[in-house]
């Protein structure tokens, strides 16, 4: 639509557009490509300052194996999964319930509760830090997976409720009304009528929230500290301190840490983008 479709332009323009595409993508991802290139180098290359030339030997398998054998990287990845999956499930579940309530029931406090969820979603983490840390300690959850899981469920339910509410508002009210007239209970309406309709939205939301929680660094620093529970973001940051001169290992570790959300993104791209923009079309 806009700009004018390129296929209507001359052949020369078409070819140069394609070249520009490739060039721009390389330029855009240059810092990342550099890291990936380094993750297959040998320590010898690095000590000799051969950062940008052709690697004297390919150490792809060795470096990546070493990341897993000589550091707790596998443990960190596992921790990230243990934290992220229940947190995503919890946040999506709570917010589907809350989003439905806010979308399809009229009551006075509705708009204010909705506003509170949105406002809370924008709050800077730092103002929550000390009390949440103290709460976590007093619940006896400090330095456990649950410390981070609970926080993320609670915090993400702000964004997720905004998201689910905006999606459910668009669903036809007639179905719900007619079920109500037939005397179907409110809970059955939710489980049998609403839930099947929101399934595509929950998928989109789950993918999006997965990356948010997976990439969280701040709460991983504040709420946990041992290798047994530390997720991959905080783990990588700690490893950076230990491996200082071994850039090939740090970069391999960085690639490994980035991989799960990237894979998720490429396999669920449609959901991901739908998720990002659904919250965005409203408002």
């Amino acid at each position: 639509m806009f700009p004018r479709p390129i296929e209507k332009a001359s052949k020369g323009v078409n070819i140069s557009y394609r070249i520009a595409l490739v060039a721009s993508i390389v330029l855009w991802l240059l810092p990342l490509l550099a890291v990936m290139a380094t993750s297959v180098r040998s320590l010898g290359d690095i000590n000799e300052g051969n950062y940008w030339g052709w690697p004297s030997e390919w150490m792809l398998i060795e470096n990546y194996t070493q990341v897993f054998t000589s550091t707790p990287m596998a443990q960190y990845l596992m921790n990230s999964l243990i934290i992220t999956l229940p947190a995503v499930a919890g946040a999506v579940a709570l917010s589907t319930l809350a989003g439905y309530a806010l979308a399809k029931y009229q009551f006075k406090a509705n708009i204010w509760i909705f506003a509170t969820f949105i406002a809370g979603n924008f709050v800077p983490f730092q103002i929550l830090m000390i009390p949440v840390r103290d709460l976590t300690i007093s619940f006896g959850l400090y330095d456990t997976h649950w410390a981070i899981i609970f926080f993320h469920i609670a915090f993400q339910s702000g964004f997720c409720t905004l998201f689910m509410r905006n999606f459910i508002v668009g669903l036809p009210t007639e179905l719900i009304e007619s079920a109500r007239v037939e005397g179907v209970s409110e809970f059955k309406i939710f489980f049998h009528i609403v839930l099947p309709l929101v399934r595509p939205a929950t998928a989109a939301l789950a993918v999006l929230v997965f990356t948010f929680i997976w990439n969280d660094f701040f709460w991983a620093l504040v709420l946990v500290q041992s290798d047994e529970v530390r997720p991959v973001t905080a783990g990588l940051s700690a490893l950076q301190g230990q491996w200082l001169a071994s850039w090939q290992l740090i970069s391999a570790g960085a690639v490994v840490a980035a991989l799960p959300p990237v894979i998720l993104f490429f396999t669920m791209q449609r959901h991901f983008i739908a998720g990002l923009t659904l919250g965005a079309t409203k408002g």
Partner: protein, 408 residues
């Protein structure tokens, strides 16, 4: 009678079981996450478990920075049975709040007042001992002997000789001093030594305790000496970009010649520099001031809320033993505080033991001797000074503001 016996049996059994449940595992939290110390402790703990088959040790490792903050959480809530920590102000902060167990009994039983005589003052508050030291190490200047020889420089013992050495190296396009100040504390090593050599230990400790203003002329004198190195550009360029590890290669590849650091650097020396690395004591600045040294001591403590204090005491006693002190310090390449234990036979350790043996007194280290908030701001100031020495007045005024607030 039978009944009573049975009751007694049950009671015995249940106490046995309850002590088994608690005595079974000993939880130790530690920040010795660097490769050499990690391996050393794995070995020593295996030894401890072998000698005490009834105890299983759970050894949790943390990285240094995270450890310093999170230890405060567990000490208050649910602490492990033994923690690694540091002597000096750092220990005092927890002792003052009643978070560390008094282990004077352990000292008395094991005759530690005698065997740990030199370390005792650092472990004593209000006449009681609050932990067991297991290692300490010297600070000093590690340098490239071959570069010094090549340019006809001898080991400097006075400040003028040191400045002359720097000038010669600089003329030959070698950075005289390597340092990486990204994480700040390396700059504090320079401050400690310059202040100790300029004003002596008593003044230094008063400053650490917040009793002297940072705007004092004696502090200014310390910085004036420091400026003699900063202004001619004797420190490695872009030092604020590097961590202490990242600054090492400059020394190893000959782009820099000296490095003021702790003895923990020595395991990192590359093999090809065997015999080319030397060590000298930080040179004298003011002949009227004694030769005081930084000798940070790492320690073990029992939190007052620990669950298994009995086994924790056994572990501390085990670690205070001469043979184990020898063994752990052999692996760490550091100095055992136990007077009969032997430091490994190593060029740098020999120098360190001799130097500390004849020292007029020792400090722990800037960020172990002063309040944490003061230390953080102070070290930022040192780093800034090392890049912009002309900002000295603004820096000292800022530090003085922090001092007044911190030590009110």
């Amino acid at each position: 009678m039978k009944k009573i016996a049975k009751l007694g049996q049950i009671a015995l059994l249940s106490t046995a079981m309850s002590t088994m449940a608690t005595a079974g595992t000993l939880v130790i939290n530690s920040d010795t996450s660097d490769p050499a110390p990690k391996a050393a402790f794995a070995e020593i703990i295996a030894q401890f478990e072998k000698e005490n088959p009834d105890i299983t040790v759970k050894y949790n490792l943390y990285d240094h920075e995270a450890y310093k903050t999170t230890i405060r959480n567990w000490l208050v809530t649910s602490p492990p049975d033994v923690v690694h920590w540091y002597a000096g102000n750092r220990m005092k902060a927890f002792v003052d709040r009643g978070l560390f167990e008094d282990v004077s009994d352990l000292w008395a039983e094991n005759n530690m007042q005698d065997t740990f005589a030199t370390a005792a003052p650092a472990m004593t508050i209000d006449g009681k001992q609050w932990g067991v030291p297991f290692t300490y190490y010297q600070w000093g200047v590690y340098y490239r002997k071959d570069l010094f020889e090549k340019h006809g420089i001898g080991e400097p013992t006075t400040w003028d000789e040191f400045l002359a050495a720097c000038a010669t190296l600089k003329e030959n396009s070698i950075a005289p001093v390597s340092i990486g100040t990204k994480y700040l504390w390396t700059a504090a090593g320079w401050f400690d030594y310059l202040n100790l050599r300029t004003n002596g230990l008593e003044f230094h400790m008063d400053l650490m305790d917040g009793k002297v203003p940072y705007t004092d002329d004696r502090v200014r004198a310390t910085f004036a000496n420091w400026a003699e190195l900063v202004e001619p550009g004797y420190f490695l360029e872009n030092h604020a970009s590097y961590s202490w590890q990242e600054a090492q290669p400059f020394l190893y590849n000959g782009e820099a010649a000296m490095y003021l650091i702790g003895n923990f650097i020595t395991p990192n020396f590359p093999e090809e520099l065997e015999g080319k690395m030397g060590f000298f004591q930080f040179p004298q600045i003011n002949p009227e001031v004694g030769m005081f040294e930084d000798a940070p001591m790492d320690t073990l403590h029992i939190p007052s809320k620990a669950k298994n204090k009995e086994d924790a005491r056994r572990y501390l006693a085990f670690m205070a033993r001469e043979d184990n002190q020898t063994k752990i310090n052999g692996a760490l390449l550091q100095i055992p505080p136990h007077k009969d234990a032997q430091a490994a036979d190593n060029y740098f350790l020999d120098k360190g033991v001799a130097m500390l043996g004849s020292a007029d007194g020792t400090a722990q280290f800037y960020d172990r001797d002063t309040d944490p908030a003061m230390a953080k701001e102070g070290m930022k100031g040192f780093q800034e000074f090392m890049v912009y020495p002309d900002r000295i007045d603004a820096i000292l005024e800022r530090l003085e503001k922090v001092r007044q607030r911190t030590f009110k």
